[in-house]
Symmetry: C2
């Protein structure tokens, strides 16, 4: 039971970090004018969310320096950047809701969303720019590369919607860029601030990136196979939308001619219950769930190896191990 | 005639700087993929324009160090930032044309414009981040403040369209933020790179900002009073669009009840020739042109005083004096 208790303690620790960052956000003073610029920025930041990126920055800093507060500015930077991407992505995806509330472009309009997203991106740089001069160039270099990669990932995701054929490799590259690298970056920024050795901060970056890919693959799996009572979104939503997920792409790549024809004819099926049921039947014939889980496990295992490689005691690494297990809903 | 010749030499010098920055832009290598992200970024950068901001950075650096090339990265940074604002502003204004060519969101679509604008903003930070570590914090601080101000100015400009009453002070604040501060920032960044003393780089910032306001006021004046053969846009365009310019706001603020009623009834006049003619008649009654020129001259004169205050020989300041005269179409 020792391990379970440790995990419980670590999850409590997660709440401590989350509360800390929520306080930082709620006490952030934006100018009151122009109202239409700063009100939406404050609105999206206060919508909540898991605050996973700033928590990762703080944990990484704690790991190497014993003081998570030193990472406050980079933690806020990555959280603000993440919220910039949410506003702009929601405009591009025409999404009406975000965390159960109206998206910025719905509550105001697209122009307000565009410009308040821009201001959040600049605000994130403002936080990073406060880093100690001796680490500032390294921090900016990592951050700039990551920000560019996140935009590239979003563009790839949009391009995939129009594309006839997307390879599994391209898909994994897309989720790596769109989502995973920002987790790696959040960790590495915290590690740099905490004074980590280069090798350790790079291992931590890889840990975050591989964990991020595993998490996204799990998201694809859950969208089809989750228990609806425990899942925030509609189970089967990706199938209904013909979304090119790891599962669909693997099915298309491994199906025989007749299975492929059945799959493709289901894209236009209007009886949605039938559509989900029959796509799942084809997935079952092709062992798609197992194949996706296998890939997910490879990335998760690699992440754990990255964590193992870091030069710190197992006790100090425990919070990061716990957050990985928490994210993946695992017990080991 | 010595002065005229000097000015002619200086204008030739302008071309040298412009060619230098054009070469920098045309030889910039963007990744080839995602195509829809980098192609629009390259397209807008290569549309041309006066390249005023990077020229100012290079001139400022030359003034204090004798080597304009040292400012290449900050010069490219401000030019790339300017192009980011053009893409996003054109989306917000639904503008079909930019420099006689299709705008990015017209040639591609709004989503492509949104994301390629984002990537340009990050690219601009990438250039700035290459500054020497000892000046990097100062450069970022100035740049972040300026970028935020430019967004605030754009939001104010959009808010003014919906607003019942806009004061002259608010209007001048808007053009200062939306346009002028980026000129001041371009100069100051070049000055910092060139090793200028604080006082001098601040004077240069003020020179650029005051010159920028004078230039925008001149733009308002020319829109009504320019010779159509020498003016790139339609003369009277602002009057036709009921645009809240310095001229209209001054007229509304100084008109008597009957003049104000006439002005306001002209807002809905559909005979556009009549509309322009009668608004200009009211402007004449109220000496609006003279009042606008007076304000413009105050800002121009202050800019010249800022330039005078800088600790450098008159000969070295000549290029900046020339560019001010060139921008304002003046001979002294």
């Amino acid at each position: 039971m020792k391990k379970d208790e440790n995990l419980k303690n670590m999850l409590a620790q997660l709440d401590t970090y989350r509360d800390y960052i929520s306080t930082q956000i709620s006490t952030t003073q934006f100018p009151s004018n122009p109202h239409n610029l700063y009100e939406p920025a404050k609105y999206i930041l206060e919508l909540g969310g898991k605050r996973m990126r700033p928590i990762l920055s703080m944990m990484a800093c704690e790991l190497f320096s014993g003081e998570f507060e030193k990472a406050t500015n980079v933690a806020m930077g990555v959280e603000i950047f993440h919220n910039f991407t949410l506003i702009h992505d929601d405009i591009m995806d025409e999404a009406p809701l975000r965390r159960g509330k109206e998206t910025v472009h719905k509550k105001w309009n697209s122009n307000v969303g565009l410009l308040s997203g821009d201001i959040l991106m600049i605000e994130s740089y403002k936080r990073l720019a406060t880093a100690r001069p001796e680490i500032l160039p390294e921090i900016l270099k990592l951050y700039n590369i990551t920000a560019i990669e996140v935009c590239e990932g979003q563009q790839m995701d949009m391009d995939f919607e129009e594309s006839e054929s997307v390879s599994i490799n391209e898909y994994v590259k897309m989720i790596r860029l769109k989502t995973a690298v920002l987790l790696g970056c959040s960790l590495k920024l915290g590690a740099i601030v905490g004074g980590a050795a280069n090798k350790d901060s790079n291992d931590l970056y890889d840990f975050g990136t591989n964990l991020g890919i595993a998490f996204q693959l799990q998201d694809d799996i859950l969208d089809v196979y989750a228990d609806q009572n425990k899942f925030g979104k509609q189970v089967g939503g990706d199938i209904i939308a013909n979304k090119k997920t790891f599962l669909l792409l693997t099915a298309l790549a491994t199906a025989n001619a007749s299975q492929k024809a059945r799959l493709e004819s289901l894209f236009t099926e209007t009886d949605l219950e039938k559509k989900v049921k029959e796509v799942k039947e084809i997935y079952a014939e092709l062992n798609i769930k197992e194949k996706a889980e296998e890939q997910m496990n490879i990335f998760y295992k690699t992440a754990m190896q990255n964590l193992d490689a870091i030069n710190a005691t197992e006790e100090k690494k425990m919070p990061l191990r716990a957050i990985a297990m928490y994210l993946m809903g695992r017990e080991s």
